[in-house]
């Protein structure tokens, strides 16, 4: 049983933002509810008002010049089946196919997933590796937030109380590039996730650009610039030789926490393993 709450159903982002601003901590955005309702059922949180934003639309997937724009209210189910994403972001489609289970994917939204910022989640890690932007709106303004700045801590994003995440923007992948996301887990939620976005240079001889993000193991997903530097600009063979060290660096960068998912050392080790595999997977598809 849930405790009683009042339901608001705004018809515009402005209206939603105003309600949130007015009621502050006692109001919360409600979309799919797949995380929120669980926390409320557990009694860990309570809100006097839930602001149902499903009337705001925001479930588009489209390409605008070189940017893929994904509405925050797209369900995981929509994303795993979106034709616009199959060719441009197949790694993201695969990630979405493996989020939770078919029932959660049916109603859970990408926006809700990102905003709840549960540490053991997948999409944030990949979106960091592709340097996505999160578009946040409130009554009077709109801003773009780099994925790297979006996740502050476990269950905490940089969004203000009256801001609504409306869209996620992903730069369309360049030629000779590929993305790989690998995860490992044996409990219901993933324990370790690693995303690699790799682009070869024009001659396809060296790694023109590489972006690495680690997630699930620690409180929030992290980009690992130090590991990227060990691989960027190198030939494929030399980069491959640097992978073990890059893996160690990435493991530490994950800020792994010992919990039921595994010890800190174990998670750090798995980060290294997944980095190696994701690197080779992305490389083979460039």
């Amino acid at each position: 049983m849930l405790r009683r709450f009042r339901l608001d159903e705004p018809e515009s982002v402005k209206e939603a933002s105003e309600i949130l601003g007015r009621f502050g901590e006692s109001a919360k955005i409600y979309a799919g509810g797949t995380e929120l309702l669980l926390a409320m059922k557990e009694g860990l949180v309570h809100y006097e008002r839930l602001v149902n934003i499903k009337k705001l639309g925001l479930n588009h997937v489209r390409r605008d010049n070189g940017v893929i724009k994904i509405g925050a209210l797209c369900t995981h189910r929509q994303l795993e089946t979106a034709p616009e994403l199959q060719n441009s972001l197949p790694a993201f489609v695969k990630l979405e196919q493996y989020v939770a289970n078919v029932r959660v994917r049916q109603v859970g939204t990408i926006g809700g997933n990102l905003c709840f910022a549960e540490p053991h989640a997948d999409p944030g890690t990949l979106l960091m590796a592709v340097e996505a932007k999160m578009v946040a709106e409130k009554s009077s303004s709109k801003r773009e937030i780099a994925a790297a700045d979006f996740f502050v801590d476990a269950y905490e994003t940089c969004l203000e109380a009256d801001e609504v995440l409306t869209e996620i923007q992903v730069p369309a992948p360049a030629a000779n590039s590929a993305i790989a996301y690998l995860k490992f887990g044996y409990l219901e939620r993933p324990s370790v996730g690693v995303a690699v976005a790799l682009a070869l240079n024009d001659g396809k001889k060296t790694i023109g650009d590489i972006k690495i993000a680690v997630g699930c193991a620690g409180p929030a997903p992290k980009r690992v610039a130090e590991a990227e530097a060990m691989l960027k600009g190198k030939g494929a063979d030399e980069a491959a030789r640097n992978l073990p060290r890059a893996g160690e660096v990435a493991g530490r960068a994950a800020q792994a926490i010992s919990d039921l998912h595994g010890s800190q050392e174990y998670k750090e080790h798995i980060v290294g393993v997944l980095l190696k595999r994701a690197f080779h997977s992305a490389l083979s598809r460039c």
Binding site: V45, D153, Y155, I257
Partner: protein, 150 residues
């Protein structure tokens, strides 16, 4: 969960010891702690601990009991509280030691923290990290307060 911290304070042992028993100022160093009251000087105190992890907020009305006291050297205390709204209890066993070294005071804490009830659903790791953060901030605040008043 066990934590150990040590902080070096540029102040005499006497000053640090006196500061600890100045309940209002001492409790003010604990992040999220408010409304400190002396129930029985030297023996029992109360305070309210408010902590937040993202949207999850707890408010523990806490009772602190001093179990052992060795002048200028050591305090053993126990704090316990319950947040009935979210069905969780907290228990902290605290061992505080003071050592003098080259005119400075080394203030050491050993804390055993137990969180029971629904809050544990957040995951041992998250709670441990939060508790570690709180203790870190506490130790820093004590140091700054003491070094600040010269």
């Amino acid at each position: 969960m066990r934590f150990e911290k040590e902080v070096e304070i540029l102040a005499t042992r006497e000053k640090v010891w006196d500061f600890i028993w100045d309940v209002d100022r001492f409790i003010a160093c604990v992040p999220g702690c408010k409304e400190a009251k002396t129930i029985e000087a030297g023996k029992r105190y109360s305070a309210t601990m408010v902590e937040k992890v993202g949207p999850f907020k707890v408010e523990f009305p806490t009772t602190i009991e001093v179990l052992e006291r060795e002048e200028m050297t050591r305090i053993k205390a126990q704090a316990s509280g319950a947040d009935n709204k979210i069905g969780s209890r907290m228990k902290i066993e605290l061992d505080v030691r003071l050592r003098e070294q080259d005119g400075k005071t080394l203030l050491g804490f050993a804390a055993g923290v137990d969180i029971l009830g629904k809050l544990a659903a957040l995951g041992h790791g998250i709670i441990k990290r939060k508790a570690d953060q709180v203790l870190d901030e506490f130790a820093q605040a004590v140091k700054e307060r003491l070094e600040g008043d010269s």
